[in-house]
């Protein structure tokens, strides 16, 4: 079975690789890796959902926007997430990509939620997407 994501050693920040048989699955798993760096998904109930729609010229820019959007939603909605479902669509004539996603989670509760780290932002350092037998994205988070 394919692992959804793995964390790699980085002295100051958090580095991970997320995988998928499709780019959609890879981006869902990347979001789970990002949020998993902050809080164990077992602590998060899925009580509400949030919809995200994004567009970008290429897949890499779209992935960057998507992961940054999760950090933005976490702060502005005061919510924690554990379920990410991404659906991608190529815009006609190769003009770019569209992303639609549903995020499941709940409002933050300091009594119940214990955080491991705060992800400040998604960096572009060594940010890369590759497709071999499967899709892979590498990300370094600023924590």
């Amino acid at each position: 079975m394919m692992i959804p994501f793995e964390y790699l050693e980085h002295t100051a920040d958090v580095k991970f690789r997320a995988y998928g048989t499709t780019p959609d699955q890879m981006l869902s798993n990347a979001a789970a890796a990002l949020f998993g760096a902050m809080i164990s998904p077992g602590q998060v109930k899925v009580e509400e959902s949030w919809q995200v729609e994004l567009e970008a010229e290429d897949l890499e820019d779209l992935a960057y926007q998507w992961l940054s959007e999760i950090v933005f939603l976490f702060e502005t909605e005061s919510a924690v997430f554990s379920r990410f479902q991404v659906a991608l669509e190529e815009i006609e004539d190769g003009k770019g990509w569209k992303l639609r996603a549903e995020i499941g989670g709940e409002r933050m509760d300091p009594e119940r939620h214990s955080f491991l780290a705060e992800v400040k932002a998604v960096t572009r350092h060594k940010f890369a997407i590759k497709k071999n037998e499967r899709w892979c994205i590498q990300v370094v988070l600023d924590v």
């Binding site: 964390y7 050693e9 980085h10 002295t11 100051a12 920040d13 958090v14 902050m38 820019d61 960057y64 926007q65 940054s68 950090v71 933005f72 976490f74 702060e75 502005t76 005061s78 933050m108 300091p110 214990s114 955080f115 491991l116 780290a117 705060e118 400040k120 932002a121 998604v122 960096t123 572009r124 350092h125 060594k126 940010f127 370094v140 600023d142 924590v143």
Partner: protein, 474 residues
């Protein structure tokens, strides 16, 4: 190509270490600290050396460690003509910085009340992940904080006019352009004004343990046994989002202006282009927001001290930025030139010849504030003119990590770390006890070693060592 030791505490990364380097790199470390510099950090120093218009050297301060884009502890200056500006040289937490307040109180008088005081500070200064403030700033107030920073905070009744003399840039950097701050950054920034945040940010009650230079300490208002308060925080979600948004724009600018960058986080634009101007204008907004933020937090800290020690005078000793790009005049090959100096995890350390230092410290140099990690000593140093020749007037900003966060989480629990600190007589308050583990004192280099290098190089000289009595963490 090998890294070469060219002097005590100076190592050179030669041109050719990686392709495209325009200038050599310089890493300022002792032989012992050199062992702790990872190959990735050296690569990052070399990467910065490839950027257009870089002047002198791509530098790393003694606390250098692996970052993204620039290394942490990275300093580089770029020519106004032909140079660039890059958020990779500033970081996401724009104007993360340190402020030191000095009191007229003796540690022996404060120690018995330390827990009460810490509880009150923890209450008065909102902290933690995504923490929102007591302030509830309006949109208009947010814009004013972007434009005028600490100056605006004083007008609103936080702190006093004379505080402004003791902030780098007087707490308000010119060039802010709020029209370049997006809706998302405003949405994150508005509720967070007046909050400490989390991670390595802290508010600490300290005791002056040792004075190294009596004369300078006296002028800075420091004495042995004195209580000081250190505040370490930045521009919160506003700064993070401004960096994120402009990184997107600058990634496109790199293609547009055909700049070859070795790391995507070094996305940049040539100075004088709209993309560069827009990023600079937005970055200044975040820098000013951070000064306002530290000003507000300092005000609430004063209120708490006044409650328990009526009439206690908490005076601002100094406030430094350690993640910022600034336009400064420096001597290049004998001629004065305006340069864009990027300091990422590095502190300005101007000596007595500079006009930017406060009148009260005339003839001395600016205070250089180097926070320790949680539970370890912090240092006050005094900037020296030699820094202008060696490092464009820069010093280190902390002690630098040696252990990754995941490794720290495997080795320690938050509970153990807290208990160990308590055994050492250091009280701790934290909104996320689990996060204490990754900030355990052991994950950082010994702060004294890093400070020794700065002192021995003559960039800044040791003035005082401060030890923590109580720490409030996010």
């Amino acid at each position: 190509m090998e890294i070469e030791k060219i002097d005590d505490n100076i190592y050179e990364v030669p041109v050719g270490y990686r392709p495209g380097m325009r200038v050599p790199g310089r890493i300022f470390v002792s032989a012992a600290l050199r062992e702790m510099v990872e190959p990735g950090t050296v690569d990052q120093v070399a990467n910065v050396a490839t950027l257009p218009g870089i002047v002198g050297h791509s530098m790393a301060m003694p606390d250098a460690h692996l970052g993204y884009g620039f290394p942490i502890g990275g300093v580089a200056a770029f020519k106004e003509q032909g140079g660039i500006i890059s958020p990779g040289g500033v970081g996401f937490d724009i104007n993360c910085g340190v402020r030191l307040l000095r009191s007229d109180l003796q540690a022996r008088d404060v120690q018995p009340l330390i827990n009460t005081l810490l509880d009150a500070l923890f209450q008065a200064v909102p902290s933690g992940l995504g923490s929102t403030g007591r302030l509830h700033a309006t949109d208009r107030q947010l814009t004013e904080s972007f434009l005028r920073g600490a100056e605006w905070a004083v007008e609103e009744g936080y702190g006093v006019e004379s505080d402004l003399d003791f902030c780098e840039e007087n707490g308000s950097m010119p060039g802010a352009d709020p029209s370049q701050v997006g809706v998302k950054a405003r949405k994150r920034g508005r509720p967070q004004l007046g909050t400490l945040g989390s991670g390595n940010h802290f508010l600490e009650i300290q005791r002056v343990e040792e004075i190294y230079d009596q004369e300078i300490a006296k002028r800075f208002g420091l004495f042995k046994g004195q209580i000081t308060v250190m505040i370490h925080c930045g521009s919160r979600g506003a700064g993070h989002q401004i960096c994120t948004d402009h990184l997107d724009v600058l990634s496109k600018a790199v293609r547009k202006y055909n700049i070859d960058i070795p790391d995507k986080q070094l996305a940049c634009a040539p100075l004088g282009t709209p993309e560069a101007d827009h990023y600079f204008g937005a970055m200044v907004c975040a820098a000013n927001y951070a000064w306002a933020n530290r000003h507000i937090i300092a005000h609430w800290t004063r209120e708490v001290f006044d409650r328990y020690f009526p009439g206690s005078q908490l005076q601002l000793l100094y406030d430094v930025a350690h993640n910022v790009a600034k336009i400064e005049e420096h001597r290049v090959e004998g001629k004065k030139e305006r340069l864009y100096v990027h300091r990422k995890g590095a502190t300005r350390a101007f000596g007595p010849s500079r006009t930017e230092i406060p009148a009260a410290y005339e003839g001395l140099g600016q205070p250089v504030l180097i926070p320790g990690s949680m539970g370890t000593a912090s240092y006050v140093l005094c900037g020296q003119d030699k820094a202008l020749d060696l490092t464009f007037g820069s010093a280190c900003h902390g002690s630098g990590r040696v252990m990754s966060r995941s490794q720290a989480l495997r080795q320690f629990t938050g509970k153990e770390v807290k208990a160990a600190l308590n055994r050492d007589g250091i009280a701790v308050r934290s909104t996320s006890p689990g996060m204490l583990a990754e900030e355990a004192p052991q994950v950082y280099k010994p702060s004294g070693d890093v400070v020794d290098v700065v002192h021995n190089l003559g960039i800044a000289t040791r003035v005082a060592r401060l030890v923590p009595l109580g720490v409030s963490k996010g």
